[in-house]
Subunit: 234 residues, 4 copies
Amino acid sequence: MSWIAERDWPSLEQGLAGRLRRDCGTDWERFIHHPFVRGMADGTLPEADFQRFLIQDYLYLIQYARAYALAIYKADTMEDMRSASGIVSGLLDTELALHIAYCAGWGLCVDDLHNQPESLELLAYTRFILDRGQTGDLLDLIVTLAPCLIGYGEIGARLMADPTTRREGNPYWEWIALYGGEKFVGLVDAGLRTLEALAGRYGAEGRYPALLAEFRTAVKLEAAFWNAGRSGML
Amino acid sequence: MSWIAERDWPSLEQGLAGRLRRDCGTDWERFIHHPFVRGMADGTLPEADFQRFLIQDYLYLIQYARAYALAIYKADTMEDMRSASGIVSGLLDTELALHIAYCAGWGLCVDDLHNQPESLELLAYTRFILDRGQTGDLLDLIVTLAPCLIGYGEIGARLMADPTTRREGNPYWEWIALYGGEKFVGLVDAGLRTLEALAGRYGAEGRYPALLAEFRTAVKLEAAFWNAGRSGML
Amino acid sequence: MSWIAERDWPSLEQGLAGRLRRDCGTDWERFIHHPFVRGMADGTLPEADFQRFLIQDYLYLIQYARAYALAIYKADTMEDMRSASGIVSGLLDTELALHIAYCAGWGLCVDDLHNQPESLELLAYTRFILDRGQTGDLLDLIVTLAPCLIGYGEIGARLMADPTTRREGNPYWEWIALYGGEKFVGLVDAGLRTLEALAGRYGAEGRYPALLAEFRTAVKLEAAFWNAGRSGML
Amino acid sequence: MSWIAERDWPSLEQGLAGRLRRDCGTDWERFIHHPFVRGMADGTLPEADFQRFLIQDYLYLIQYARAYALAIYKADTMEDMRSASGIVSGLLDTELALHIAYCAGWGLCVDDLHNQPESLELLAYTRFILDRGQTGDLLDLIVTLAPCLIGYGEIGARLMADPTTRREGNPYWEWIALYGGEKFVGLVDAGLRTLEALAGRYGAEGRYPALLAEFRTAVKLEAAFWNAGRSGML
């Protein structure tokens, strides 16, 4: 498959993020071309699988907010503190509510979201991020958080650009259009700029193997997360 | 001195906060009746001392924001996460700018604030808070943060209520009116309600001696902070 | 099945640990009576399953040492610091080497242990422990670490006491004798005493629901860990 | 003053440690040539000052053990975990007892050590180390811990090598001989090798300004620590 978006989105190929993404090779491919993603592209993904995913994704966002709270604490500049704080308050004040509204359209109420236990995949992924964040510095934390942001952006852009993606009557088109849309592309580009600035200040070049190792584990955990809770809850 | 405000502000006397404040006895008294406070009350505090204090207070607020970022990370409920996040974004988006504007009125520019090193008193106080926060749980963190909030509220209310406080021509009246005003009283009362709710859920009763120990150390560090940087910077 | 050991080991039934274990009900039962455990008891567990488990168990011990290092940092008394430090140095200086020697008897060399990636089950369990440890206080950390210690002790004691456990020609008898032996029982009893002392000082009674929630999640993650890596590595 | 030891101890001048020490310039000089140090060299330091220092130094070692416990948690290799664990157990099992015995020779009993409150200087220094350790990665933590190890070694070696240092009848000669002796030189050299290995793996070159900033603050706090508690306890 030739990827039109790749030509149009050079920032994905550049800098630290581009190098990490490239060096993950097939692990990255398995994440962004996962059967779950293909099932959304052609609309064949079973609704129950998507509902299960939406619930775990909601619980993921809560841990994601905790990770960015840690980023505020770890930041050494006012600019980095404000950037992370904006993400935390955006999640807690706006995005979680939007997610709840979106889930309502799929027949899930707030109680469905809050009463579900965290799946093995969710625990593994989010607590790995938080542990890397506590163990390492701000760069380790942001690198470990990057696959989610970059990957969803790339998936959205690819599916939008791919002429074989089903648009008419595809219940997942709204999801695709969200992550492939201008607004999310802007968020990804802002995240890439932040990452690149940190890469410079925190000496990414001289510690690349460790950064790649944690990025790669996060990529594998993202791939596993598409099936979060599929083999039953804990 | 009879304290009119004490009659009017019963929440300061109640619950965990009231007990901690009472049990600190003379340590609490030394903090809120510090010569620096009396110098503001009668307007005799040297301007240079106040400027020095304002600079360290600005640097304190940055660490205070880091402490509340840790509180977001440590919170177990959405409500506690949102409450702490509101404090962090309030500080970073609004209050630091207000502090800068206030300092400008005292002849201090932004560079004066950012280029000063942290004093010994500041390092001791803020890093003690952050270490207790990392070592303990959310209740330990909020208890260690409490002397600042409660104490400034009590000082403001006392000075406002005290007929001997000089109002006319007192350059510190604006500061007194800020911390003794309705808005700050509201913040203190909100903080007291949060603390009391945490005290219940986190079992304050059964671990009171450890809570008192960390509260008392924070109170002593608050008292020392009035003179932050007085004996020279590091 | 009547459990002889239960009559002989009253400390398992007492105090905070006894209450937590009881209140976990069927979650606890699923952990200690897991098919993997029954397969060791009658010697029918496939060797490949045990080898897979041994590798993940080795990687688990490394994270377990990190968790007790966090306990040293979080301890408020010299006695608690020394107790946790003894566990860390015991693991790093002795027990990991013993585990390697034991694995060698099962045909696994050191490289087999170090070159395996961490499984989803391992990441979920160990990083959950570390996150609870960073988020909460020393009691939260020790409570979350408790299911492993208590559970392996109870499993060993039960299997030793159970007349239907196969001894002759059972390749897993050595494992059973290790965890059911005097020395490990002593470790469990020491751990129970430490937990009970912390329960008193850290006010367990007043915060029991939160302690039970993290204990229960750890118990579920222990149950899942028997199959660590079974459905493929990450 | 020409420094004989400098000619004999080239490792102090090399690598990351040598660069940090050099770039601290007069801040480093103020630490190692502090009046307190000169008072030990010629034996004129008042005994009460030394007793005060010994008490705070004991309390410092407890926090130093916590910092190395954090280093175990933060280490990414077994070798780094074992190295930090050896320091922690050495402190808790041996060195604190040696310190108590040494203090007994100065008329201080264990209760004198444990009942003293932490001074402002101690709180500032140790909690700054712990906060940098939690905020940054293992390299940040070890760099912030380095001034203590390197500085005491350099001070001991200088005073031993300096012909003007009083040996006969100097009550502080035992202290000088301890830190200037072969054994402590060996500890410093081992610490320098560890730091240099971390500098390579964690990319010190590319993040040098931040490392220098935290090293310099620790150096200033070391200098302030000679007078720990002098201006009264908290």
